[in-house]
């Protein structure tokens, strides 16, 4: 079982509501679900879609062919009819589209009329549509009813009943009228959790003891801000919308200096404003975590679309020389655990840790049986309370063997915590002399870096253990490339080498042997200039010569990428 449902229409028509409801019903029914969205930078109008794929096995990307197209506008049919699979059907309301289609696989359903008749309000049309999709698929509607009862419980019995009747009307209509529908859905399994990349970062941060989040809203990072704010009360987190991204990072640094775990999140343009703050974090050795959700640039670029073009910018962000850590998760699961690791390393080494995602990962939903909370790490590295009070002497930037100085919480002891954006001595006071300068650079950079490198995991090899063909990728392309490998692995000895802990490179370089033994290395990136391949070259001297790039703001699709990879292989 492997079906894809696409809901298309104008912004404001309820695409998100229908899509979210369906996705949650499917996950609740125990199917594996993957969703992604394509939307324009506007609140009303335009053409947008929400795509849901369901299967009885783990899936990690969307597919190009559609089995059910819910067309809320004519544009949905114009653009997406060609994507229909052999058994594909279109669900539409001719009263919306002002047009009737005489095709056997087109089902005209009076969404508004049914909503008015059974729900007493045209707002129930979305519920009718949800019921109709389930009816077309021939899926048992019980879970849908259960979800409606749960979702609308707070709004009272009347609303619950109206929605139930609307859903049932849609369900029955589609089930009876769609004579050519021949979908086979499996029975219910254990419910799956459904989570986006943004939620996974927010969740990972909360699970790591986040206490302070300051940010300025910017697509596609705002979802993290929203998630943290929603849970701020329950988890004792202070959330502040700063006047700009410069203030956002400086507030987070202030909070971190004062002794709490702090984070900010943004996208490229906002990150550009934060750059001086990253340098400040480095000089004052103040731990901070930054989520950078990329979108296509330069400047405002394509605000609601996706790209991986800020890797080298993030790598070099901040004047001066200092260590930082960059993680680029490939899935919400990786985002969850890597956010936890980012907090741990940021505090342990008193550095900046960046979580690099993009619109595609930020907004797509993946399903899992569960996240294993026992794999999380929480260790408080700060010097607090009696431990701090009992010290005879304290120097914030004490020179040590590891380069790590005690991170005292100001106010917990009579010792003064002094730090400076100017070069400083061990106490934190301004200096100008060459000798201290050299010692401090050595401390911040050369002493810490080898320890940080030891913490970094090598890339993940997926597929053939001794591959002839290696697809090199990083970050959010993980799920797509993985499915390409799955599809080609019966014909070729192929593997994916996916990097999620991308800087610094791990000390474990055994992956270089895999690349050196391969006949074909293909580097796949969602950008124009193969930035990660440049980083590999810089760090290892290995030059990858063949690249597949996409930079139109749309994510790779499995089918398109498979064709491109196939073309390279057959051209061997």
């Amino acid at each position: 079982m492997d079906y894809s449902i696409k809901i298309g229409g104008e912004a404001g028509q309820g695409i998100q509501t229908i899509g979210d409801t369906l996705a949650h019903i499917f996950a609740r029914a125990g199917y594996y679900v993957f969703t992604h969205q394509d939307y324009e930078s506007r609140i009303r109008g335009g053409h947008n879609f929400y795509q849901i794929r369901i299967s009885d096995r783990q899936i990690t990307a969307s597919r190009s062919s559609i089995d059910v197209l819910v067309a809320l506008d004519l544009e949905s049919i114009n653009q997406h009819e060609k994507e229909l699979s052999v058994q594909g059907h279109v669900l539409y309301d001719s009263s919306y589209l002002k047009q009737r289609f005489d095709k056997p696989n087109f089902l005209d359903i009076p969404l508004t009329e049914l909503a008015l008749t059974y729900g007493g309000n045209k707002i129930m049309a979305n519920t009718v549509a949800v019921g109709a999709v389930l009816g077309m698929l021939g899926m048992n509607p019980e879970i849908m009813y259960e979800m409606i009862r749960k979702t609308f419980k707070k709004k009272g019995d009347e609303i619950v009943q109206a929605n139930l009747k609307s859903a049932e009307a849609g369900y029955k209509f589609a089930k009876e009228k769609c004579l050519t529908c021949s979908f086979m859905v499996s029975g219910f399994e254990k419910p799956k959790m459904l989570i986006t990349g943004n939620e996974a970062i927010g969740l990972g941060a909360i699970a790591s003891g986040l206490q302070f989040y300051s940010a300025y809203p910017m697509t596609p990072s705002t979802g993290i801000f929203n998630f943290v704010a929603e849970n701020a009360k329950d988890f004792g987190i202070v959330v502040e919308q700063a006047e700009d991204e410069i203030a956002a990072i400086n507030m987070a640094l202030g909070a971190s200096f004062a002794g709490v775990r702090a984070m900010t999140g943004t996208s490229g343009g906002g990150f550009a404003l934060m750059v001086e703050g990253i340098s400040l974090a480095a000089m004052t050795e103040t731990p901070i975590v930054i989520a950078l959700a990329q979108r296509p640039g330069p400047a405002t670029g394509l605000p609601t679309r996706t790209e991986q073009a800020d890797l080298l910018f993030a790598l070099f962000a901040g004047h001066g020389e200092f260590p930082k850590v960059i993680f680029a998760p490939g899935s919400p699961e990786q985002a969850f655990y890597l956010t936890n690791k980012a907090f741990d390393l940021a505090e342990k080494y008193q550095i900046t840790a960046i979580i690099l995602t993009d619109q595609y990962l930020a907004d797509s939903q993946w399903s899992y049986l569960e996240f294993d909370l026992s794999k999380l790490k929480y260790e408080d590295y700060r010097l607090r309370g009696d431990n701090f009070r009992n010290l005879k002497e304290y120097k914030r930037h004490l020179l040590t063997e590891t380069g790590i100085s005690p991170l005292g919480v100001p106010g917990d002891a009579n010792h003064l915590v002094v730090t400076d954006s100017d070069e400083h001595d061990e106490e934190g006071h301004i200096i100008e002399d060459a000798e201290t300068r050299i010692k401090m650079v050595e401390k911040r950079l050369f002493k810490k870096l080898p320890f940080i490198k030891k913490e970094i995991s090598p890339p993940n090899l997926y597929g053939e253990g001794n591959p002839e063909i290696v697809l090199v990728c990083w970050g959010s392309t993980y799920g797509i490339v993985r499915e390409v490998v799955d599809e080609l692995s019966d014909k070729f000895r192929i593997a994916m080498l996916h990097f999620s802990e991308i800087y610094p490179f791990s000390e474990d370089k055994s992956w270089l042997n895999i690349l050196q033994n391969a006949k074909l290395i293909l580097n796949i990136e969602q950008n124009a200039t193969s930035q990660f391949a440049k980083l590999i070259m810089m760090e290892t001297g290995l030059e990858i010569k063949k690249h597949i790039n996409r930079f139109d703001g749309r994510p790779f699709t499995v089918d398109e990428l498979k064709e491109k990879v196939y073309a390279y292989i057959t051209g061997l």
């Binding site: 300051s214 106010g411 003064l416």
Partner: protein, 283 residues
């Protein structure tokens, strides 16, 4: 009780005769008279001659970036509301580079005390005009003189209904000490704009120039009258008022946040035990 000896910091690298020395003395005397210990407050400073201030006294210090004192101070206050948080910056730092942050710190009414060393010139970069330089002042980078309106920090603060607005003068240490004490004891965002002659680069607004013009606001003045305060803030020229121009009692930003009301954020352990309930929301 702390003494002035407890506040002996590093040797200042300011020019001899700089107005900053008097500000430092007034500040140290104020905190000693208030019985504050160095570990009970943090000074966040920016860049410029004023930015070096915390090194020359004794306190927790975050000497950050040019213009960014207030966001850092805001973060510190939110994380540890038990600490007293002071911000020290110059006129270029706070009114130029960090102007946006000033507007929003006043709007938030975060309980931070801002002391601006206002010498109406850029000192550390050697004599360019600042936002508070007077019209017509000729400098190396303003060869035809300053064209822009002189920035009026007090009028802007009163317009934003700032909780405490005052002006001090480095040449009147007793009065300045009184202002420091009043501001530190006040609950809410407090701004003291301190007229500080720059002996090296500002040849117009000298000690003598200020002495001829500055006068203490009389005792009968009502600082709670916003319209009168605004009027007072517009006085500049032959007569320059110093003292508390405006006061408004109102809840601080951090008082609105339930978790901070209970105890400082930094005193809370992260609530990790609730994680299992949060996970359920994803099913």
């Amino acid at each position: 009780m702390p003494t002035l000896q407890d506040y002996k910091g590093k040797q200042p690298a300011w020019c001899p005769g700089c107005g900053n020395f008097s500000i430092l003395r007034a500040f140290n005397e104020a905190v000693v008279e208030l019985g504050l210990n160095p570990y009970e407050f943090v000074i966040v400073s920016g860049i410029g001659q004023a930015g070096k201030f915390p090194h020359y006294t004794k306190c927790h210090t975050f000497n950050g970036l040019h213009g960014r004192t207030l966001p850092v101070a805001t973060g510190i206050k939110l994380a540890n509301s038990a600490l007293k948080v002071f911000a020290v910056a110059g006129d270029g730092d706070c009114y130029g580079e960090g102007g946006n942050h000033l507007i929003h710190a006043i709007r938030r009414n975060i309980d931070v005390k801002l002391f601006v060393h206002d010498n109406q010139i850029y000192g550390l970069t050697k004599g360019q005009a600042s936002p508070t330089s007077m019209k017509g002042m000729v400098t190396k980078t303003q060869p035809f003189g300053v064209f822009s309106e002189q920035f009026n920090p007090l009028a802007m603060a009163i317009a934003l209904d700032c909780s405490f607005v005052a002006r001090g003068f480095a040449g009147d240490i007793e009065h300045l000490k009184y202002l420091f004490k009043e501001a530190i004891n006040h609950k809410g965002f407090s701004l003291i704009d301190i007229l500080q002659p720059c002996v090296s680069f500002n040849k117009i607004n000298t000690f003598e120039w200020y002495r001829q013009r500055v006068y203490r606001i009389p005792e009968e003045y009502d600082p709670y009258d916003r319209t009168k305060a605004f009027e007072k803030s517009l006085e500049w020229g032959d007569k320059i008022p110093i003292g508390i121009l405006y006061k408004k009692e109102k809840p601080t930003f951090e008082e609105n946040i339930p978790i901070i009301k209970e105890k400082p954020l930094v005193s809370h352990e992260p609530y990790l035990e609730k994680l299992k309930d949060l996970m359920k929301k994803f099913y």
